[in-house]
């Protein structure tokens, strides 16, 4: 079936199976493999994307339901000016280990900050309740989201010169 949807600001006209899930279209048709599949039943949150400003498990919705909606994946977080504040804070606070939960965590956190720019710690933890991580114990992730919520909206500071690893070669 024909499907028109807007992903990361770009409009796509696709021909998809009626049973295709949103995650299938994102990963297979659009090559957006930052959308991760960890459980296929909406429990792990690795496939979280933002649909019209709300966090959605892309394994639980059919692509056909997204007709005309705006979908944001982790690939769409950074812009020409560089990484999103959340992405920078995830790096700086050591919130990334194996990284398989990271895209989903980022998108759940982004949806939270869109709705509530200055959430309490409890609100952060609740917003991430549907995103499982087996590496971190969540402490660094919660710290990263809190730090992002405390950053001024503009004038992002440059990363520290020392004590941080360089971009991978």
């Amino acid at each position: 079936m024909r499907l028109s949807l807007i992903v990361n600001g770009m409009e796509h006209e696709l021909d998809v199976r009626p049973t295709a899930r949103l995650i299938d279209v994102l990963r297979l048709d659009l090559g957006l493999t930052g959308v991760k599949e960890g459980c296929s039943e909406g429990e792990c949150g690795a496939c979280t994307v933002i649909v019209d400003d709300k966090a959605v498990n892309s394994c639980l919705v059919l692509a056909g339901q997204m007709r005309g909606k705006k979908v944001l994946t982790v690939e769409g977080l950074a812009d020409d000016d560089g990484l999103d504040t959340l992405q920078r804070m995830f790096i700086e606070h050591g919130a990334v280990q194996c990284g398989f939960c990271t895209p989903g965590m980022l998108m759940s956190a982004k949806a939270l900050l869109l709705a509530d720019p200055h959430p309490s710690e409890e609100a952060i933890r609740l917003a991430l309740a549907g995103n499982l991580c087996r590496c971190t114990g969540y402490a660094t992730i919660v710290a990263a989201v809190r730090a992002a919520s405390e950053q001024p909206a503009e004038a992002a500071p440059p990363p520290p010169a020392t004590g941080r690893d360089g971009k991978a070669v």
């Binding site: 982790v74 690939e75 950074a78 990484l83 952060i124 991580c133 590496c135 114990g137």
Partner: protein
């Protein structure tokens, strides 16, 4: 040991954090190759029986299906998925690619290879298999009783191990305490499912993308099974979304390689969550009975331990696991006479094998619950009892005969007890209302590599580019905890340059030198020491080249922050980048160093952990409300990541103590098939984890560093259970302490306590 360090001990992101936050990193499960086929496994729905017929005609008739595989068209050769080297011991070969004799719900019966995942899945349901069922054995107790029903030739008890040392000091007035602790079968729960991609070549060779913890072992198992020369099997470590031991062994590599070889097309085998849970590997369920005799004051005089491990349907690495469970207790405590028997038993349940801590969480949970029982019997504080018996630095572990090294477990306990305000909190009454609070402590020990067992070594090559940057050639396997970054920081520290100037990648059998892989708590201690030795050798090469350029004797040269200086002549020196560039056409085309580093020690790493819990006596639910983890890590290389290792390890240990288990029902089916019925601790459930590091740098690891990733989770569950028992006055020792078990224990306490 100087603490004058430039880069070691600071905090760094994992090396590929940028690619991970942007979604750019291609994980194993993201790999797509031109012409690639997709495989779907058909798993046994019965726990034990014989496949009597397979009709795959309907599946094969489905458009897009390329081939259906089963025991009918695959080799019957047996192999061991856990084997790293051709001559390795304790690797019973009992598994085939596809089973005719199925031994658990989840055993591989057949596989469909098709042009899409959807077609493969649809075709799998069209395969008609008939089975002749056999009686199934679901517990080691049953399996040991039923000699008449061996799951494999040789019987159900396939491995026994015994350690005994010392002479009993049991006195006439000794206080004797016995207790039995059971630990559950659990799912590793790495977020990325198991996956393997194999590309066959017209030369007969294969390229395998493996999300395992050791590419050379994958090569050994696959090449031997398929009869290929080792140099024709190239295994590349693909980025992986966690392992925790669950991807240590070669579960998917052999079957995927076989299917790619036969179809002559690239094949991807990606499991779903249920398949990961039931058909890959689990942490073994164990039962340990400990009997101790100690003086009325609390001095241990004698210890007798018996452990039974449930290996599941295939041996995998459980034999070695059984050995290692006998090698932890004497790392922690002075025991005049120690006798430990362990046995591994086949059952018709999911295959058990490697899991973070390799037997230490299992036996330490039993030991530390037992130590609290002893403290209770004697009426002394659990911290005092432990201090009376814990090891001192540089004592010899009588089981392994090796020094424990700069063992600082006592300091961990003393500093932790002070930081946690243990005495005050332990002295508080737990309360008698609905919500009761308690605190618990536990100590744990683990190792640093495999020295003492075989030649523990690693080798690497480091080169300097003409612009003064560096590239480390090493077989690194990063499960996601930052191994690559650790190596970069170590090299940077030796050379006095920013870690940004050092590149390192992961393992590829065609281009990086032999290394066993990431397990045995060997990476920081052994592989890291190799990185340090290699960087030191390269530094010597740089000085040699600089001496030639500066026309000065080497003895007059010093290296500092990326430059070689002439001593006592502040003006004269040459930067690394100039050395590389200028010396290239004079005497050295490339400045490189290769080192094979042999470990000569295997000290213990320790962690002591303190938990506070609140138990709801109405529902039986336990909340961990505060937690302190103290680690004897020698020296943190990447400080933030060491803290994070403890935080994540405690999360895993809390799950082990309170929530996670995979029981099988009377039909042999696992009670779990996804995260909806398998509770991984989530963000709202996690307390703050305070981390305290004890850093004495007294051992042979790089800059004194010791292992952290495994030891960090070793004592967690016992600390939590001991806190629950303190809160309730119970003696729970069956994990996990689910609400049902907590309520049952409370009821028992009320009945018995009057």
């Amino acid at each position: 040991m100087t603490k004058d360090l430039l880069y070691v001990g600071l905090t760094y992101p994992v090396h590929d954090a940028w690619q991970k936050v942007t979604g750019e990193l291609v994980y194993g499960s993201d790999i797509q190759l031109p012409g690639m086929l997709y495989a779907k496994l058909l798993l046994s729905p019965i726990p034990h029986g014989m496949v009597t017929s397979i009709d795959s005609s309907a599946a094969e008739a489905l458009p897009g299906v390329v081939k259906v595989f089963s025991h009918l068209n695959s080799p019957a050769d047996v192999y061991c998925r856990a084997r790293l080297t051709p001559e390795q011991e304790l690797c019973p070969r009992d598994e085939t690619l596809f089973s005719e004799h199925v031994r658990f719900v989840g055993d591989r019966v057949a596989a469909v290879v098709a042009t899409s995942q959807a077609i493969a899945e649809a075709a799998m349901t069209l395969i008609d298999v008939e089975y002749e069922e056999l009686p199934a054995l679901f517990t080691p107790e049953e399996a040991q009783r039923r000699d008449d029903l061996p799951l494999h030739p040789g019987g159900n008890v396939f491995f026994e191990h015994e350690e005994e040392c010392g002479r009993s000091a049991e006195s006439r007035d000794a206080v004797v305490v016995s207790s039995t602790t059971t630990t559950p079968r659990i799912h590793h729960a790495a977020l990325e499912p198991h996956v393997c991609v194999v590309q066959p070549h017209s030369t007969g060779g294969l390229t395998i993308w493996s999300t395992s913890q050791g590419v050379y072992g994958a090569r050994t198992v696959v090449a031997d099974l398929l009869g290929l020369d080792y140099h024709r099997v190239r295994v590349i470590k693909a980025p992986m979304g966690g392992s925790f031991g669950g991807k240590t062994e070669y579960i998917l590599e052999p079957v995927t390689a076989f299917m790619a070889q036969k179809t002559r097309r690239p094949v991807k085998l990606l499991l779903d969550r249920e398949e990961c849970m039931i058909a890959t590997m689990v942490r073994p369920a164990t039962a340990s009975t400990i009997r101790t005799a100690c003086s009325p004051q609390g001095q241990l005089e004698d210890m007798e331990v018996a452990t039974v491990l449930d290996a599941g349907a295939y041996a995998s690495s459980t034999s070695d696991y059984a050995v290692h469970m006998c090698q932890k207790i004497t790392k922690l405590y002075r025991v005049p006479h120690y006798h430990h028997r362990s046995r591994a038993v086949y059952t018709n349940t999911p295959v058990a094998g490697a899991a973070r801590g390799w037997g230490a969480p299992e036996i330490v949970t039993a030991l530390e619950i037992h130590m609290d029982n002893v403290a209770g019997e004697l009426g002394i504080d659990p911290v005092d009892l432990r201090l009376m018996n814990l090891r001192h630095p540089f004592e010899v572990d009588q089981v392994t005969g090796m020094s424990l090294g700069d063992a600082r477990v006592r300091e961990c306990l003393e500093r932790g007890a002070a930081a946690f305000d243990w005495s005050t909190r332990r002295g508080r009454a737990p309360g008698s209302g609905r919500f009761r609070r308690g605190v618990g402590v536990a100590c744990g020990a683990h190792k640093n590599g495999m020295f003492g067992k075989f030649a523990e070594a690693s080798n690497m090559t480091l080169k300097m580019n003409e612009d003064g940057t560096f590239e480390l050639g090493a077989s690194l396997h990063d499960p996601g905890c930052g191994i690559v970054t650790v190596m970069k920081v170590i090299v940077a520290e030796v050379l006095g340059v920013s870690p940004d100037l050092v590149a390192a990648g992961e393992a590829d059998t065609s281009s990086t030198p032999f290394d066993y892989g990431t397990f045995g708590s060997r990476v920081t201690y052994v592989v890291g020491a190799c990185a340090k030795a290699t960087a030191e050798k390269l530094k010597e090469e740089i000085v040699t080249a600089a001496a030639d350029l500066l026309h000065e004797p080497r003895e007059r040269l010093t290296v500092e922050r990326g430059e070689v200086h002439v001593q006592d002549d502040g003006q004269r020196g040459v930067a690394f980048r100039d050395i590389a560039r200028l010396s290239q056409m004079r005497h050295s085309p490339a400045i490189t160093a290769s080192v094979t580093y042999y470990a000569t020690s295997n000290p213990a790493s320790y962690s002591v952990q303190f938990a506070e819990v609140e138990v709801d006596c109405a529902t039986g639910l336990t909340a961990v409300t505060d937690f302190l983890a103290v680690g004897d890590v020698g020296q943190a290389i990447n400080r933030g990541m060491v803290h994070a290792q403890f935080q994540g390890a405690v999360q895993m240990g809390i799950g082990y103590a309170l929530y996670e288990h995979m029981d099988v029902d009377e039909a042999g089916r696992s009670g779990v098939d996804g995260f909806k019925n398998y509770h991984v601790v989530n963000a709202p459930d996690m307390p703050d984890i305070h981390v305290l590091l004890v850093e004495h740098s007294g051992d042979d690891g790089p800059f004194g560093a010791k292992s952290v990733g495994e030891i960090a989770t070793v004592p967690t569950a016992a600390a939590v259970i001991n806190a629950v028992n303190h809160a309730l006055g119970t003696s729970l020792s069956d994990l996990p302490a689910t609400p049902e078990r907590v309520l049952a224990a409370l009821h028992l306490e009320e009945v018995e306590g009057g």
